[in-house]
């Protein structure tokens, strides 16, 4: 088999990639690049899951990798990019409460806090092993950073992206510490896809009635049906 120390060091480098993508999602202003960076973040998690599978050989990990790849690397980013293209919003430059700079600084503090808290929680357990511990810290931090994106952005589309990156944090934590049952992973992914579908409502017509909303979908070319040509 492949050397496990080698796999460990590659996973650590991938951790760095995840931190970089999270920092980018917090501070970037260009919507399209946030979407592609989100896809990159998910891809990194897929690779981590595959490497863990090599390390541990549990088939659940392989299934998680496959389902994450299909949903978060391909389907969801494609959907969001389509919505974004149709509503023609390219940038998100409005922020609530926190500017990107202060959210970056705050997220640093959060990471430190998570670290200290987890050291205490895991003191007695066998999970003190370096790699798994760091995975847990990073998972929770990614979750909190995603939460910060969710509340500091004004546009619905970026809020959704923040939520999605929060879910990536949960997945990462699940990969390293507890083994979530596969059915739950599956349900979470279905939830996410429904959430992205709901995003069309949030971004296109939250304030409209149902008939009006249908018209708006037509206007933004998000809904094409042939019978209703007027």
């Amino acid at each position: 088999m492949i050397d496990s120390a080698f796999i460990g060091s590659i996973i650590k480098i991938l951790f760095v990639c995840i931190i970089i993508t999270a920092a980018y999602i917090i501070s970037a202003r260009n919507l399209l690049s946030i979407v592609s960076v989100y896809a990159l973040q998910s891809l990194t998690i897929v690779i981590i899951a595959l490497l863990l599978w090599l390390l541990e050989g549990s088939p659940v990990l392989l299934a998680i990798a496959a389902i994450t790849f299909a949903s978060k690397v391909i389907i969801i980013p494609y959907f969001i990019a389509t919505i974004q293209e149709k509503i023609r919003i390219k940038r998100d430059i409005q922020f609530h409460f926190l500017s990107p700079t202060s959210s970056l600084l705050l997220s640093m503090g959060l990471m430190l806090l998570v670290y200290i808290a987890l050291v205490r929680v895991m003191e007695g357990t066998a999970h003190r092993e370096n790699l798994f511990f760091f995975g847990a810290v990073l998972g929770i931090s990614l979750m909190l950073m995603g939460m910060m994106v969710t509340f500091s952005r004004k546009r619905a589309l970026t809020k959704v992206l923040g939520f999605l990156s929060m879910e990536n944090g949960v997945l990462l934590f699940g990969l390293f510490v507890t083994e979530l049952p596969f059915i739950i992973e599956f349900l979470i992914v279905i939830d996410l896809i429904i959430l992205v579908l709901l995003t069309t409502i949030l971004t296109v017509g939250l304030d409209s009635t149902l008939e009006d909303y249908h018209k708006r979908l037509h206007r933004f070319h998000l809904w094409e049906d042939t019978e209703e040509v007027r």
Binding site: S9, K12, I13, F15, V16, I19, I20, A23, S27, S99, P100, T101, L104, L105, S107, M108, M111, L112, Y115, N130, F134
Partner: protein, 313 residues
Amino acid sequence: MNLEFFFYILLNTAVVLLIAPLFSGLIKKVKAWTQGRQGPPLFQQYFVLFKLVKKEVIYSPNASWVMRAAPFLNMAAILVAALFVPLVFVTEPVGGIGNVILFLYLLAFARFFMALAGLDAGSSFGGMGSSREMSIAAIIEPTTIIVFAALAIVFKTTSIFSMFFTSASTQALVTPTIILIGISLFIILIVETSRIPVDNPETHLELTMIHEGMLLEQSGKNLALMELSAAVKLTVLMALLINLMIPAGLALSLTAAGVVIGAVLFILKGSVLAIIIGLFESSMAKKRLFQVPSLFAMAFFFSTLIIIIEVFA
């Protein structure tokens, strides 16, 4: 002072002076290509410097001795700082050379005199350039210190020489901390050398210029010195980045073959980095002055993270 260190001083200074205009010319060329232009020849910077050296120097009637001394002080400080960063081979440091904090303050010293010279001629452009440069310098300073502190913690020494020794003798593998430090150093490099998201080195527009504004009143030999010192500073910071990240080729002893291989590899690595800088600049628009701190915040974030990881783990 032993003989090897003496040769080190000669060789390092000669290499940095010879190579510096090449790298800044290469960046210009890459930027021209991305804009669909042919751009100036690769060696244009050398011709420009050669031409400027032959021209006479003209001082403004308001100028004091600061204007006359600044180019020399600036060049001297940057050349001393260049000694801290081995380009082609590393030797035992002599007399405590290589201290990180001294390195940073040599750069700050050069910047201080450049800003003074901008104010001294009494033109409004120069004053504006100086005030902008100093405010950016004041904001970037904490970030720079934190980045170098992270370097010091990772390599467990405050001497830049020892850092190069460790990285050249272990042929440092790509570790997570090294990647993060590389990104931070790259951002510092962009800001310190006044490149695009912060300042545009090509423009002479009143509204945007920072670095060029301070040089408007310089002429002849003095301008040549200022331009060369800016190019040397770029090369030194590039060398710091590439020789710490990818130390391949950095000779540990003074042999003809080692030095030649080191020089060739350094030019190769530097050219790749110069192309990356050119592409990075072309892919970005200049940021508003008030948005520049978000760029530093990234470097600050990564280097603080390194410190946290190194201290706690």
